[in-house]
């Protein structure tokens, strides 16, 4: 089982990196790009038999390590190891 974990700054937290990227895009003429938020992406290989356990394990490590709950939130996507989203 594989889990993809997407960690981003909470909407209430200013993202200076995302803001700078958005400004650069506007300078390049991509005026249709609105706000940009930068985040982190993790791929976890999880050696557990069921999707429920995979989800739980991924959430546990995201809460404890991958994301800082003070400033960040996360989203998990599961897929089987054969590839492709379930």
């Amino acid at each position: 089982m594989k889990a993809r974990v997407f960690v981003t700054l909470k909407p209430s937290v200013f993202d200076p990196q995302g803001h700078t990227i958005a400004e650069a895009l506007h300078t390049l003429g991509y005026g249709d790009v609105g706000d940009v938020r930068q985040g982190k992406y993790f791929e976890l290989e999880l050696n557990v038999p069921t999707a429920a356990e995979a989800e739980k394990l991924a959430a546990t490590v995201a809460d404890r390590v991958l994301a800082n709950p003070v400033i960040e939130s996360y989203r998990i996507e599961l897929s089987d190891t054969a590839g492709g989203p379930r």
């Binding site: 200076p16 003070v70 400033i71």
Partner: protein, 238 residues
């Protein structure tokens, strides 16, 4: 007086701290490797600056799980004085001994420069030899020192007098011009509710001799020596 200076892989101000404590101030400073389960006979614990574990994931995020941090937690819970400097402050935030988190500096630049700090509180072991409102010239060197906490946490810190240091301008006021990194309310340092754990982004250990540009940092270390001497005198009198 024995100081424990905790060394993580990537710490780079550990020797600055040891130099200031031993060679300038005349105390004993022992390095404690992050895998050690104990702090030995330390009277004070210093978490020094640097880039522990390469700042991978988030600043301080990996270091907080080092074996020595359990001992630091126990030491802090027992009232022992703990000072986190720069990356040490970031580690204290990650492990929850202090509230909040650090964001990238608002201009995305790494700032290595002398700043002006105002001492807001003298009722911590690391500021008791200061006077309230005293200004200190101490350098910063960080890319992620933009202190953030949710509004209710900031309000709680302010109400409880737990903001220990603020960045100020040349007139001593906490203005935007005096704020090098975008920290909320110009916060440069805070303490825990019991006031024995203090974290700050500036580097007092780099400002202990006039020859390096400022000796204003000495008062931070002299404060804790005085605090412990007073505590010892009280204990001895019992």
């Amino acid at each position: 007086m024995t100081f424990a200076v905790v060394v993580f892989p990537g710490s780079n101000c550990d020797h600055d701290a040891q130099y200031a404590l031993e060679h300038v101030l005349g105390h004993t400073a022992r390095f404690v490797w992050h895998k050690e389960p104990s702090l030995g006979d330390a009277d004070v614990v210093i978490l020094p600056g640097g880039f522990s574990h390469g700042d991978y994931l988030r600043t301080g995020a990996i270091a907080r799980f080092s074996p020595v941090m359990a001992a630091v937690q126990t030491f802090a819970d027992a009232g022992g004085p703990v000072l986190g400097i720069c990356n040490g402050f970031q580690i204290l935030l990650e492990c929850g001994l202090l509230p909040g988190a650090m964001l990238r500096n608002r201009d995305l630049r790494f700032h290595c420069e002398m700043v002006r700090l105002r001492v807001e509180r003298t009722d911590t072991p690391f500021t008791r030899a200061c006077t309230t409102g005293q200004q200190l010239r101490i350098p910063i060197a960080h890319g992620e020192g933009n202190y953030y906490a949710p509004p209710d946490v900031i309000a709680g810190l302010e109400a409880a007098g737990r903001v220990v240091f603020r960045y100020v301008d040349e007139r001593g006021e906490a203005t935007d011009a005096g704020n090098p990194n975008g920290s909320i309310d110009n916060i440069a340092g805070i303490c825990n509710p019991a006031r024995n754990v203090v974290g700050l982004m500036p580097h007092p250990e780099r400002a202990c001799q006039a020859v390096v540009g400022s000796a204003d940092g000495r008062v931070i270390f002299e404060s804790v020596v005085q605090a412990l001497a007073d505590r010892g005198a009280v204990a001895g009198a019992r």
